[in-house]
Symmetry: C2
Subunit: 234 residues, 2 copies
DNA sequence: GTAAAATTAGACGCCATTGTCTAAAACGTC
DNA sequence: GACGTTTTAGACAATGGCGTCTAATTTTAC
């Protein structure tokens, strides 16, 4: 019943750094093994081996397998959310050269949030263990894809107000933007592969091209409603 | 080493029907348990219980766990492929009322091929065990999504030749059609839920609406190139 | 250098599961 | 009703993983 962590408050940097390194090493290894083998198929021994750590050390830091699993998921979710937030902040806010800017944004989104290590991990784990840990992945649902959709929705709304896009339903447009961006990568995403930069670029270009054919405004249309441009920029 | 199945050639209908019923019962139960628990997490005892069958009966029909798993995947894949073929044969071939017809087709596709029992099973299992059984799911990749894309590509090509659509790259358009159709259902698909008929209808309508904004031809365009219509129909 | 804390290797009990085996029961055919 | 086949329940050994414990070793703080 004694709390092994309480002495830590008296520790200075070095021990904490050493402990922290072990913890991260374990979390990384566990993420790797859980992702490949699933919760049931993953063995603590294998995780310990991958982490270059004794099995007992794992039990010291995380009481049992399930605790470790929860910690891994939360860790990956935090990283993924931070990355998503970071990428969302690069959404283009100018209307000029929209096709190129949206394409570059789609590349960033796919590369850093959807096709990267953490994205693959979360997608796979949500499918594999989602029903077994509803509360855990509910927060992923709301903070991951949920946040992505609502944020994108607002950002598209801003562009539409500037007269750069003609969108009736921003939520639908946001979901469709993401869906189009993944259209050419679906197979790779499902199989867990990693697209090359060329594939990412091409997929994003196809997606944005179609998206703008559906929601873009012609130069003539923009010229016909200059007031919308002035209203925002003024 | 003795082959338990050889006496079966002498059997008359009833026994075979009984055996076949057992086999199907086992396959269904195993699909259910494998899907929920994954390969490692599924236990033969649970499968036997769900199938209302003795554990030994499973070992009589399928030598070991892995044999059973392979048989289950092949069984589901056959059903899914048949359904996909069936739905593909209902693709609209007329250009009139295209939006409604494409919407209805998208509903059929999502309802019967992607969001149904077999579709969910295959998607989940491909993600969970795809790396462990590459050859097994390679055929799924080619006959499932691969066939869907190439078939849709050809079907859109037919519509384009009739002048109903303006498509430059049929493969890209086919993938985007599927992606748009899933855009509003992504979350439910990932979580393993089943959309209601209203949700299916709305998702398909949104998808086709955007798809036709990008690839549809205006009445004016169609009128400007009546030759394409005449060339096919004549 | 010393003391405290963390880490390690290994053994251990426990439990679930796999796959085999056997004898009894149920089923279908004749 | 007799016979062959299939199915069943249960016991069984073997395996492997989880989680605990201990004693030795390393790391860190002071």
């Amino acid at each position: 019943m004694k709390d092994r962590m309480t002495p830590a408050v008296r520790m200075t940097g070095h021990t904490q750094r050493g402990q922290c390194a072990k913890r991260m090493s374990i979390l990384d290894a566990a993420a790797d093994v859980f992702c490949r083998q699933g919760f049931a198929g993953a063995s603590i021994d294998e995780i310990a081996a991958v982490a270059c750590v004794s099995r007992q050390t794992i039990y010291n830091h995380y009481r049992e397998k399930e605790t470790l699993f929860v910690a891994v998921v939360e860790d990956v979710m935090n990283r993924a959310n931070a990355m998503l937030f970071s990428v969302l902040s690069t959404f283009p806010d100018r209307a000029d050269n929209l096709e190129d800017e949206l394409t570059a944004f789609a590349v960033r989104l796919n590369k850093n949030c959807i096709c990267n290590h953490d994205g693959k991990f979360l997608r796979k784990l949500v499918q594999t263990e989602g029903e077994r840990y509803p509360h855990l992945f509910e927060s992923w649902r709301q903070q991951g894809p949920g946040k992505l959709t609502t944020a994108l929705s607002a950002l598209f709304g801003r562009l539409a107000h500037k007269g750069a896009l003609a969108i009736d339903d921003f939520d639908v447009a946001a979901r469709q933007f993401v869906a189009l961006g993944n259209a050419d990568l679906q197979m790779m995403i499902l199989l867990g592969g990693t697209p090359t930069d060329e594939e990412l670029e091409k997929a994003a270009r196809n997606a944005v091209h179609t998206f703008l054919k559906a929601y873009g405004r012609t130069e003539a249309e923009k010229a016909g409603h200059p007031a919308q441009l002035a209203a925002i920029s003024g």
